[in-house]
């Protein structure tokens, strides 16, 4: 099936990009691989018929945040950082803990496979509205207050980052 093939292709993009992001020596290469990973996530959104989030992911992450990262990489000189040791002293402790968490999760999911099932999905008629319209309907009615609060959060972030980056406050 085409869906399955696309899922595995995007999963490969996501995981491969993520692994290369955290292992690259040069921060610019890291950023490029992060873009690959984020595009993979956008593809997964499209596969799940979340078209609006797909567009947001491309425009905001790949277009916005990554440009911000690249600018900061140019601003702070990272040539020095690429030459020194890349991993912390006791990195094996961190990786050991993560492996433990992963093994534990896998163990319990496999062990409790019979108990682990999703609630039945409700049989709802397909909405005639598109994904963006459905989201807008909910966002501007039920979630109006969080939406406004998000704008306040963004304002705080703007002011904060300007204050942070100023030479003298």
């Amino acid at each position: 099936m085409l869906d399955t093939a696309f899922f595995y292709a995007f999963a490969l993009l996501v995981l491969g990009g993520a692994l290369l992001t955290i292992t690259q020596r040069n921060a610019v290469h890291s950023a490029i691989w992060l873009i690959v990973s984020l595009i993979g996530v956008a593809g997964l959104f499209l596969l799940q018929k979340a078209e609006f989030l797909f567009a947001v992911q491309i425009v905001l992450y790949v277009g916005g945040i990554m440009v911000l990262f690249l600018f900061v990489i140019m601003l702070v000189n990272l040539d020095e950082a690429a030459r020194v040791r890349q991993f912390r002293g006791r990195w094996w402790v961190a990786l050991g803990c993560l492996a433990l968490v992963a093994a534990e999760t896998a163990y319990f999911v496999i062990k409790g496979r019979d108990a682990f099932r999703f609630a039945p999905r409700p049989e709802m008629p397909a909405s005639p509205l598109g994904n963006t319209e459905q989201l807008a309907d909910v966002l501007f009615s039920t979630y109006l207050l969080p939406f406004e609060l998000a704008s306040v959060l963004l304002l705080v972030a703007i002011v904060g980052s300007v204050v942070m980056a100023k030479k003298r406050i």
């Binding site: 955290i22 996530v41 799940q48 989030l53 702070v76 990195w91 959060l153 972030a157």
Partner: protein, 102 residues
Amino acid sequence: MHPVTPSHYLALSVALLLIGTAGVLVRRNLVIVLMSLELILNAVNINLVTFSQYYQHTHGQIFAIFVITVAVAEAALGLGILIALFRNKPTVQADEIDLLKW
């Protein structure tokens, strides 16, 4: 080939979360630590969208939008702090910024 179930997406999300956490814990370069944070937030978004699609309920996607908003604010502020730090002490290695350490 088997059809893709929500479990596949959840497994992918867990794997991405673990990779992101590994990046945060292991890397010394602060810029890459911030990138790993983005990976973690993306893992959460995959999870939210999966359940939103499975239960035909848009609220999960709304939540994903808020997560993206917070991720943007976090990236902007984190990088601003990084620049302010770099001005005071020209290093981006997480373990060399230890002024508060006794």
